[in-house]
């Protein structure tokens, strides 16, 4: 696992990826299990009808659909928990990719070897994408296993569309974090700024149905492209997915250019 920067980075990411994947996988399993319980014993619809509209919006109440297991996932897991966890995961990895080595001082050793800055960044980015996809796949596997365990039959293609959309969202934020980290060498700044952007754009999208002003700027929020078209009901919207993909690619290219021309901190 020490053959090149890619394998070394995969090795470095194996435990964070494993634990985050395990966490989301268990969460997916758990959701499939409680939905089965609640469907029979709890008047969710009655409860939700009593929520004020703002409250419903915050928990994704616009999307509630009790007629299927994916409806429940769409209410609880996909609007809030999954995107924040997955995008937070990618942000943390991307912030540490080069900036972590720079802060520890190992980047000087690495770049004195015959490896390009660009190549280091490309290989580390591939490892981060692999880690993010693995966590998404773990969630999907958890939902699937949970469905089998309780004898539920969610539409797995729609679940996969939702997970894929979340992965693209995570890569968009990861790309932004990478660009900040590569431009500044400052890991804390990359995590902080991207985290702030994550929260702000989440609320722009989540509160858009309630606030006219936000509704007009909703299109700037990556969350709109993540879930605006409701992938758990309608499948993946290629146009929206492409927007997230383009954000990720553009941010990566920016990271590449900024990293290449910058002085590394000693």
């Amino acid at each position: 696992m020490l053959r090149n920067v890619l394998l070394k980075t995969l090795r470095d990411l194996r435990w964070p990826t494993f634990w985050t994947g395990l966490g989301l996988g268990v969460l997916g399993f758990y959701f499939m299990w409680i939905i089965n319980t609640f469907e029979n014993t709890f008047d969710w619809k009655g409860l939700m009808d009593q929520f004020p509209p703002a409250m419903k919006a915050l928990v994704g109440g616009q999307l509630i659909d009790f007629s299927s297991p994916t409806g429940f996932l769409n209410m609880e897991l996909f609007p809030l928990i999954l995107p924040l966890v997955l995008a937070g995961f990618a942000t943390a990895l991307a912030s540490g990719a080069t900036a972590g080595e720079e802060a520890r001082g190992t980047l000087d050793v690495l770049l004195a070897e015959p490896v390009d800055r660009a190549r280091v960044l490309v290989e580390k980015t591939i490892a981060i994408i692999a880690g993010t996809v693995a966590v998404g796949v773990a969630l999907f596997a958890g939902i699937w296993l949970g469905a089998i365990a309780v004898g539920s039959r969610p539409d797995l293609a729609l679940v996969a569309a939702g997970v894929l959309s979340a992965i693209l969202l995570a890569l968009a934020f990861g790309g932004i974090a990478l660009a900040i980290a590569c431009a500044t060498g400052n890991r804390a700044m990359a995590i902080g700024l991207t985290g702030a952007l994550l929260v702000v754009t989440y609320f722009v999208n989540a509160l858009a149905p309630l606030v006219d002003m936000l509704d007009r700027v909703r299109w700037v929020s990556p969350f709109y492209y993540y879930i605006g078209n409701d992938p758990l009901r309608n499948g993946l919207d290629i146009g929206h997915a492409a927007v997230l993909g383009c954000v990720a690619v553009a941010a990566f290219v920016a990271a590449l250019l900024l990293f290449e021309r910058r002085d590394l901190t000693a």
């Binding site: 020490l2 000087d108 050793v109 004195a112 015959p114 490896v115 021309r261 002085d263 590394l264 000693a266």
Partner: protein
Amino acid sequence: MGARAGSPVIATHDLTRYYGRSRGIIDVNLEVRAGEVFGFLGPNGAGKTTTIRLLLDLIRPTRGHAEMLGLDVRHDRLAIHRRVSYLPGELALYGDLTGAQVLQYLGNLRGGLPGKEIAGLADRLQLDLSRRVKAMSLGNKQKIGLVAAFMGRPELLILDEPSIGLDPLVQQEFERWVEEVRADGRTVFLSSHILPEVEHLCDRVGIIREGRLIAVEHVADLKSRALRRLEIDFGGDAPPEVFADLPGVQDVAVHDGVLRCTVMGDLDALVKTAARYHVRDIHTVETSLEEIFLAYYGKDVNRHVA
């Protein structure tokens, strides 16, 4: 093995890098020849590490440029880095890897190195490669850095303060390695803030102070002007005027029978004169680089190039 005879292994041309107002380097023109051991000497903060990091393209110059092995340090960095090794001044290694894994990784990045060679070098330093780097002492980490710098027989070794954390036995072994590289016709560029170390190892020395290269000297010339502070305890009966007139002896003072003075060049005259009296003890005090600079060059920083 070495670069073509006559062509410099390192050449900088008006290499300048500003950091704000006071730090950085200014118009450094340095030439290191193939096959020599070149010492880069200066007090901490003088610009040694800045120069080295510019050579390795870790930072970029404000103006000027540099070549190593006849290639541009920016545009041909991959070709250069295949043939050059680097030991950073503040060495940081992957703490979660063992020593063997760190060296294996760095070796792989260079296209793969025989494990035998790595193990052989580690043995010579009595370095246990099976431990994780984060559990290692500073001295052992530095040994890994040394093995990394010497493995693969690079044409040019750039060593930033290589002696930090080394105990005397390891220091001796390190000096043998430098000798072997010299005998091979390969080149070593090492920085230090300690004059005796550089005198010991190097053929030529470049002296940098406040970001400017103020002198490049053959070590032999430097030694002839060595500056030492001496204390001789006569236990009472030494007439200071006898010593004050000796060639090369300055700043003579006597207090409680102890003579203090500064000597430039060799000690012959002073010792022979002192031998006429009862000598209880002799101390030599390491002179700081700053004192040496003042004694050699005064405030004037015109360049002296050998």
